[in-house]
């Protein structure tokens, strides 16, 4: 007998010993604050991966958000800023007594050097009117070719984080991450894990937890499970379903914040189906946004009543909300010359109202929302075929003009002021990107965009924003479906977590262990 009954308990004991050893190894003294996020680094350059370092409190920008939404800005490394009378020269004054992690003091000169590289290589500033930058003492002077009122908002973007000359190699590549934040980078694999330690000489409120770790975990369910098990203290970007499940857990609380990202249908206005505002309004009226928000997104508040959510400075509370009225939708289509054929589908000149909607699964709810839209459009007699592909297919087909419609999750919160994205999506032909409306144009809106960029008085700017929002609501060059919530699981072992709708302020700021 090779293995008899006496040997089996020994085998079981061995397995238990191995499992026990694992448990001992799993316990870590001096635990760091662990933040898990879906996004890893695409290299160590803040121009592409700066968000990791700014959100962890390692790198800092001249300007940041006030954390309340609505695009409110507050100084960070800059103590103040002003613009010349001709609106073409900006002067930023950087704070005194700020030191980089390598001991270098923050000055106007080294800030200007860092910004020079950012303006030259940063993709955020491609097509912007920024012309030059120079530093003198504690001052940074930025010149623009045309008035650019959104510049402070652009300088809140993570790619504009300031690093000293020692951070760069001779060829301009990043040698080492050196910032001014309350955490300094201790070690990293350069991709998914970043360990930070508190910076003792920080100029502001110092880190209350000595160590922090950022870990990229692409799978949303794994992030939720890490929060549930206590492996993660802050788990970002959870699905609505996972957030709902975690609400019942005793050791975790869920913070849900509205963010300026919108699920919208991008349309090709060159096509006969979408070439008039009446048809676009009919499609909009066919959408039961409340139903989608309630049943799929688990939050009726996310039903879009206009393009911009309330958290955005571009939200116009005076607009009539987008309504669900299938009967009116049918009437509008008939008014636009569409008649139902024997299959119950609207048709015009022998052509069925039938189009392809392209969407992608990297933003998980999009295909599910597309299915709901398909059935709601079918209800009024419009056939929509869903094509799920890669997100890059949308700009590719936009460029070659073959895009019919696409359901996208558009970020209007790239910087606290959405004017750049609005110009790129709806503005003049030369400024257009590849995600907004195709074939739709409005001279009036283009004029308002130029006017907005040259307006430096908030009251007047708010009036222009209101007018632009009105045009987008009336013309519907894209059809808003729902707004986004950002669900974050926060361990009850920590306190002080504040979430910024623009995800610009560090998650780790002011966070401490609960005693």
């Amino acid at each position: 007998m090779i293995l008899n009954n006496k040997n089996i308990p020994i085998l079981l004991l061995c397995i238990l010993l191995i499992l026990g050893a694992g448990q001992v190894l799993a316990s870590q003294p001096d635990r760091p604050l662990v933040v898990v996020s879906p996004w890893g680094a695409k290299g160590m350059d803040p121009l592409v991966s700066g968000f990791i370092f700014t959100r962890m409190g390692c790198l800092e920008t001249l300007v940041t958000t006030d954390g309340k939404g609505k695009g409110g800005l507050t100084p960070l490394l800059a103590s103040k800023w002003s613009v010349s009378e001709d609106k073409l020269t900006w002067t930023f004054t950087v704070k005194d007594g700020v030191f980089f992690h390598d001991g270098t003091p923050l000055t106007g000169e080294n800030t200007a050097l860092a910004l020079e590289r950012i303006f030259a290589n940063g993709k955020l500033f491609k097509g912007s009117p920024v012309e030059s930058v120079r530093g003198s003492g504690q001052k940074v002077i930025i010149k623009t070719s045309t008035p650019f009122s959104a510049l402070p908002a652009y300088l809140a973007h993570s790619s504009t984080a300031i690093m000293p000359p020692a951070a760069f190699a001779d060829d301009g590549t990043v040698k080492k991450i050196i910032g001014t934040g309350f955490y300094r980078l201790a070690d990293t694999d350069g991709k998914t894990v970043f360990n930070f330690t508190a910076f003792a000489d920080y100029w502001g409120e110092k880190a209350k937890i000595e160590k922090a770790r950022y870990l990229a975990v692409s799978d949303g369910e794994t992030r939720a499970l890490m929060a549930e098990s206590g492996d993660a203290d802050i788990a970002l970007t959870l699905s609505a379903t996972a957030a709902r499940r975690l609400r019942d857990q005793a050791n975790v609380q869920i913070n849900s914040t509205a963010i300026p990202r919108v699920r919208e249908i991008t349309l090709n206005a060159n096509l006969v189906f979408f070439d008039s505002a009446v048809e676009r309004l009919a499609l909009s009226m066919a959408i039961d946004r409340q139903g989608i928000a309630q049943a799929i997104l688990k939050n009726p508040e996310t039903a879009a009543t206009q393009l911009m959510p309330a958290v955005s400075m571009w939200h116009n509370p005076g607009l009539t909300p987008l309504a669900h009225n299938p009967e009116k939708a049918r009437q509008l289509l008939e008014k636009a010359g569409w008649t139902k054929n024997k299959n119950g589908i609207y048709a015009q000149d022998g052509q069925d109202f039938s189009f392809d909607l392209l969407t992608y699964s990297t933003r998980p709810m999009l295909p599910v929302v597309a299915e709901a839209l398909q059935s709601q459009f079918a209800e009024i007699g419009v056939r929509m075929n869903i094509v799920v592909g890669k997100s890059s297919q949308i700009p590719a087909r936009y460029k070659d003009g073959t895009l019919e419609a696409a359901l996208v999750g558009r970020n209007f919160g790239l910087v606290p002021d959405s004017i750049g994205t609005i110009k790129s999506d709806f503005g003049p032909a030369g400024a257009r990107g590849s995600w907004g409306s195709l074939g739709w144009k409005s001279g009036k809106l283009n004029g308002l965009i130029d006017q907005y960029l040259a307006t430096f008085e908030e009251k007047k700017a708010a009036v222009i924003r209101g007018k632009i929002a009105e045009i987008l609501q009336k013309e519907l060059p894209v059809i808003p479906v729902s707004w986004y919530d950002h669900h974050v699981a926060v361990s009850k072992k920590i306190s002080g977590v504040q979430l910024d709708p623009y995800e610009i302020k560090p998650y780790t700021k002011g966070v401490s262990w609960v005693r």
């Binding site: 090779i2 085998l11 894990v193 499970l225 990107g433």
Partner: protein
């Protein structure tokens, strides 16, 4: 000995040729698929929000993607001749460094998974092989079928729920300590053990039914002695071959398990690179995987030569 060296050289030559062909096919497949490589790279590098037409054109120029395909391919071949795999189009890191980083974790996981599978499969398979057709063997067969048919992510999730969430024995995901290796290794190991145990059982049952094995018992050797002297070595030859196939599969990448446990292995790297059309990384990974397959094959051949004197004789007389 000369024959062994010649056999290894042949394997190496074949392996490198296959790896180069696979890398070339990878290059062609990515480039001939509909879509724009520069656009995919721009989105992967700068996100959808910043990847507008101006940025895409910049990326195209920066990375030489405006060059004809033939030129791009020749540049890659030229670099390969100097043992330079180039840089990732997304992160701009040297491909060699990326592959080493990810292979390190793949190797750790594969080794641990095989260790777990052997820990389970050896006693299990031997028991079934000693009593073939018995109740234990029948029940084992059913359990194996069930385990093989359960998807790996289900096993992984169940393990996480039981051992990480309920018992807090192991961390859910990550790669910071040996404890992080346990759950992904068990997830992979359970599935592998289910099949390995059947291979071991069948092989052992066959050996135990063979004339030489029965002759050993008839000439008065104890059952333990017959098993150790004639059973283990003969039964292990197909098992070693099978485990090598499993090892090659593990090195190739187990994307689902790597994604679930946030394990930075080769499979995840390859998947991300394919989605982003990061051609130098795809080509480098194809080369590495090809070379790994050859290495595994050579190792298995050498082990089999050690285990089986008949093979040594055949090689010597060929």
């Amino acid at each position: 000995m000369g024959q062994v060296v010649r056999s290894i050289c042949t394997h190496l030559f074949q392996g490198i040729s296959v790896a180069l062909i696979v890398a070339t096919l990878g290059f062609l497949a990515v480039n001939l698929t509909r879509g724009d490589t520069a656009l995919d790279i721009a989105i992967a590098r700068y996100s959808e929000d910043l990847a507008d037409e101006r940025v895409v054109e910049l990326v195209r120029r920066e990375e030489g993607l405006d060059q004809p395909l033939f030129v791009q391919y020749c540049q890659w071949v030229g670099r390969i001749l100097t043992l330079d795999l180039g840089r990732s189009l997304v992160s701009r890191e040297p491909v060699t460094a990326l592959l080493i980083h990810h292979f390190h974790y793949t190797f750790l996981l594969a080794t641990a998974a095989i260790a777990v599978s052997l820990l389970i499969a050896l006693p299990w398979g031997v028991l079934c092989g000693i009593y073939p057709g018995g109740t234990f063997d029948h029940i084992s067969s059913m359990i194996c079928s069930a385990l093989v048919s359960v998807p790996q992510f289900v096993i992984g999730l169940l393990l996480i729920l039981a051992l990480a969430i309920r018992l807090h024995w192991f961390p859910v995901a990550g790669f910071f300590s040996p404890a992080h290796l346990v759950l992904p290794a068990i997830t992979l190991g359970i599935g592998l053990a289910a099949v390995s145990s059947r291979v071991i059982a069948t092989s052992l049952a066959e050996v135990r039914g063979s004339l030489f094995y029965r002759f050993g018992a008839m000439k008065g050797l104890s059952p333990f002695r017959v098993f150790t002297a004639h059973g283990i070595r003969n039964a292990s030859i197909p098992v070693v071959t099978y485990i090598s196939v499993q090892a090659a599969h593990l090195l190739d990448g187990v994307v689902v398990v790597e994604t679930l446990f946030a394990w930075p292995g080769l499979g995840k790297l390859l998947l991300d690179s394919v989605l982003a059309r990061d051609i130098p990384v795809i080509q480098g990974a194809c080369l590495l995987i090809g070379i790994l397959y050859v290495a595994v094959n050579i190792t298995v051949d050498l082990i089999c030569l050690v285990l089986d004197p008949r093979r040594r004789n055949r090689l010597a007389t060929s």
